[in-house]
Symmetry: C3
């Protein structure tokens, strides 16, 4: 076997494993930022979502995303990866129906696994935003929709050789394809569900609902940071030493600087350095650098990280003012910074910095050509994902319902949905206040 | 150095590290599924077991398992890997006493480390089943016996070129060698120890004893799922792109489908989707695909995972009815699905699907030849491991005792065995009920 | 691209990711061993320290450490890695200002990232020793000093081609460069800060302050053990199959034996096997083998681990008698065993055992030459790091203060420094005793 195929396959599989591990990260961030009474529910959602994604993406998602077809959707080799494919052959030598992936010289199942863990990430982003009030069953159904219909179609546009790819939009590891897509779907869910009981008072007041376990939230964020070293450098899908080294460093620096800027801004705005803001700052930096990690310099990654850390703090405050209740800050992290990161490619890209001919961004003398393509991508994906998600959420609402009953929500979804408790032996403080005349436990 | 040796060594070492990490997974699953009062004890057992395994397997286990010798036991190069060996030379070029491992072209110490982490896994499987009542010291002694005598001898039969290998039994990554072996040893321990105080009432009632921390149990299960991407694909012991890609996908799909089937079945049988069943379903799918991950198709892995998820739910209920008290479900996961997975090779194997000439299984036109070899392996290992474990448990019982005193068990092993508490500042609810006239704390 | 460059880059980046992950390990060990009321503060410190390190090491640390210059400090290519460099060219072909790193054939950014995660480790070691009383801001400033001035200068002496390297001192993966350096800086901080309120009574009594969460402390230790498989084998900075296999095994065996020896000794001395001692025993073995993992045999690693496990138990007891209050045992682990491990190279080294011409140590017929070089390294680094740390601590104390107020310390730093609580819903026991007439919460 050609050593290059071996090397590339090892790289793709190992980085995919790191991305898989991000499921643990998301589970702990979301569980830690939510209340103890909903912990089993959140753990269950975050655990099953990757199983759902595995089935959904195998069944149909992969085919819609990477099958040859129209500029809008894959049409060949749809079911269960059963299309013709002679991977790891590449370029001219490739014969098969998944030609959008023929640039990477690894076996088909390695391609599939790498793309599957990305699909799973897009689906799991939704879970945090809709936490603490969505029915378990309804979340499962939406996750199937996400990995079979919503995510793969947008993915086809950008990574599957579709119309946005042809337009010259660049999204290296998925600030749009994964993160803002997850974010738009989550936003639709947040709107459809409404805020958690007790979050917003009638009089415009906002009740902070602190997370129940910042130790596990910190575990989760570190695991996500690690996982991003699979997410971004792995998206080379080839063990190119210069590119992967570059991407590791831009990824890390953006995260680090965003940690600092979000901490400092929260220190200034809130009076104390809030750990939740620090952790979300890290994730914001990671999301923002994802689109451009291979296209921008280390210096630019500092600026991108700096702004990302500021954006996430302002967005958390802003969404709360808009009464868009997102228990874990998923919209601020994935939607806002996914959009921001995608636009940054149009601003900071340097042609061929790791080998890809993106052209230069606005700040490097490339004019607005790349920037316009990026904006077109951001907008078209926003429209498609937000609307299609609304439709799926509406179908679910009409058929099985979206939200648990008020009594169940107050008592906690762990008892209502799972008949269980995450910490049955620990004494848990029941916050006792009334809201609209109903006593909150 | 030949690039193939470098590639294979990197693959073997990195996947071995992932398997090492499974120790954390087991520790958290077992601690999370047990009570807070025994948490230090479980963490201690799961931490020290890999240290014990490292010493025991270095001292003698490796030699018994992979030393040249009789079809039943290794006899050369027994102590401290001191036998002649010119690895990474392979095949004809190999000169040494560990010829059963001469098919893989990596240095001796890489082979040793990879096999050591497997031995450690077999030993740690026992710890969950005997939890909450076994003396710390007694568990340590059994772990030495496990990694020096019980595991290596069966391992020699199948992976050390012994009589089962010659018979044509196939167990790619150890559904039998690691998992059912761990399971049989655990079953012997469960029988010798008896159930936990308060688990079964005199009148046939079963008291559910919920785990104290499902957050860490979920951490553990995700870590095990990740670790399995070392366990199964690493068992190629060579970076063969097609084989490792195939194994990653069959492993993941079986796990994912088992998550779904166990969740749905528990939803139907218990009325709610139980997170414990979901997590154990995942592990069941992983155990079941372990023997066949390189021999069966992705389609077959769906069926294997589907059945594994069902089996584990039924087994958990069944063992409880048999009053075999297994606090974490280790028997249902590792024993039942280890046996099931080994048999599946005889049913679903497709000759040469990733290069190994297993012959076809029953469902692919191969008749019962392979199935019979698999059954012979299952039965002979069951008899040897169960009986030899019983003997070791009996020796330990006769010399130092197996079980802590009733007062210590009620108070918790953390105080009695370790003089410590896992969460000394948290207020813990003491369940207060009487059993046989004694007040349970 | 030369396959060797690809292989080495993959190895360096993947092992660096494992070392990065050690940040999670340190965070959980330190948080778990401290009290719940300071948990957010510890998590915050351990999270931000790697962000600070990333900026500080990029800004200046890398240049001081690896820039060409005098035997005492790097002087070229100081700022932001902007020096000339044609990596991955090596040896004669290398043209650039970072020639101390020209022996490894990977891209500059891969070298940077690998060295960055080591710098981050040195900085994070300090955090545990100064926990539960240091101001958040003050810790952040010291971390900048550590990664920009203290660590890189000593690092230059040993790894940057400076005077200790020329003297023939060997420290393969950093028992001195990382661990004892972190330890000396921590010791200076512990002395400057003084003990925690309530730790030592006026009459010579020592109040044990148990950690609040041994589950996460165990998670942390397992993660550190895993991370060390990056730390030590990665320090080859090349995928040399024999060397990396050797280092993996010596690392693991030293850790395993130290787990056993620390557990047994604590069992003898304290009457029960203390989990804290077991976990710190593991870390002690890992620190002690770090300097010599590539220079000593597997047999020697057993002896080194055995002694390390004993040393850590005695040191924990000894530092307490000296009233040096180190909440997590960082001095016993990193300082004592960092020094011990560095000296072990002078005793146990076997010339060329994995290819490096260290000469033999005292016990292998090499006389005292190597031992003297090691001692010179230990002493000179001790003097420089301890004094320069004292100066930085003093500057911080004089400008912004080092320690939180007594009221804040008693109430917990989480409220005072962060306005937050790690577990707001859990009922936490307030230990209630008086000290010097003040009621301790």
């Amino acid at each position: 076997m050609d050593p290059k195929v071996v090397l590339d396959t090892m790289w793709v599989l190992i980085t995919a494993m790191l991305v898989f591990f991000m499921n643990l990260g998301f589970a702990m961030v979301e569980a830690g930022f939510a209340r103890a009474k909903n912990c089993v529910n959140i753990l269950s959602k975050n655990f099953i979502v990757f199983a759902v994604s595995s089935l959904g993406f195998l069944l149909l998602g992969w085919g819609f995303m990477f099958g040859d077809g129209s500029p809008f959707i894959g049409l060949k080799g749809l079911w269960f990866l059963t299309g013709l494919d002679n991977s790891p052959a590449t370029g001219e030598a490739y014969k098969g129906v998944y030609s959008a992936m023929s640039w990477t010289g690894v076996p088909l199942l390695a391609k599939f696994f790498f793309q599957l863990v990305f699909a799973g990430t897009a689906a799991t982003i939704v879970s945090g935003a809709v936490a603490e009030r969505i029915k378990y069953k309804s979340f499962i159904f939406f996750s199937f929709a996400m990995t079979m219909f919503i995510y793969p179609i947008v993915g086809h546009w950008i990574w599957g050789g579709g119309w946005l790819a042809k337009l010259g939009m660049y999204d290296f590891a998925g600030s749009t394809v994964v993160h803002s897509i997850g974010g738009w779907a989550a936003l639709a869910g947040v709107i459809m569900l409404g805020p958690r009981f007790g979050k917003y008072n009638g009089g415009g007041g906002i009740n902070p609902i602190p997370g129940h376990n910042l130790s596990i939230a910190t575990i989760g964020t570190f695991v996500l940071w690690l996982g991003w070293f699979g997410f971004n450098p792995g998206s080379t899908m080839a063990a190119d030493p210069n590119a992967i080294s570059h991407v590791v460093v831009t990824t890390n620096i953006a995260a680090a600087i965003a940690v600092l800027s979000s901490t400092i801004l929260s220190w200034i705005l809130l009076g104390k350095p809030d750990l939740g803001m620090t952790l979300n700052g890290c994730l914001a930096g990671l999301v923002a650098i994802t689109a451009g990690c291979a296209y921008v310099s280390v210096g630019s990654s500092i600026i991108i990280g700096l702004i990302a850390g500021i954006l996430v703090v302002l967005a958390v405050i802003g969404f709360d003012r808009l009464k868009l209740d997102d228990p874990v800050g998923a919209l601020s992290v994935h939607l806002v910074n996914g959009v921001f990161g995608t636009i940054c490619v149009g601003l900071f890209a340097q042609d061929g910095i790791t080998g890809t001919a993106t052209g230069n961004g606005l700040f490097f003398g490339g004019g607005t050509k790349l920037l316009m393509a990026q904006l077109a991508g951001v907008l078209s994906c926003a429209v498609y994902v937000f609307l299609s998600s609304l439709i799926f959420w509406a179908i679910i609402k009409a058929t099985m319902g979206l939200r648990v009953g008020l009594h169940e929500e107050i008592e906690g979804l762990d008892i209502g949905e799972h008949g269980n408790s995450a910490y049955p032996e620990f004494l848990i403080r029941k916050p006792s206040y009334t809201f609209l005349g109903i006593k909150q436990k």
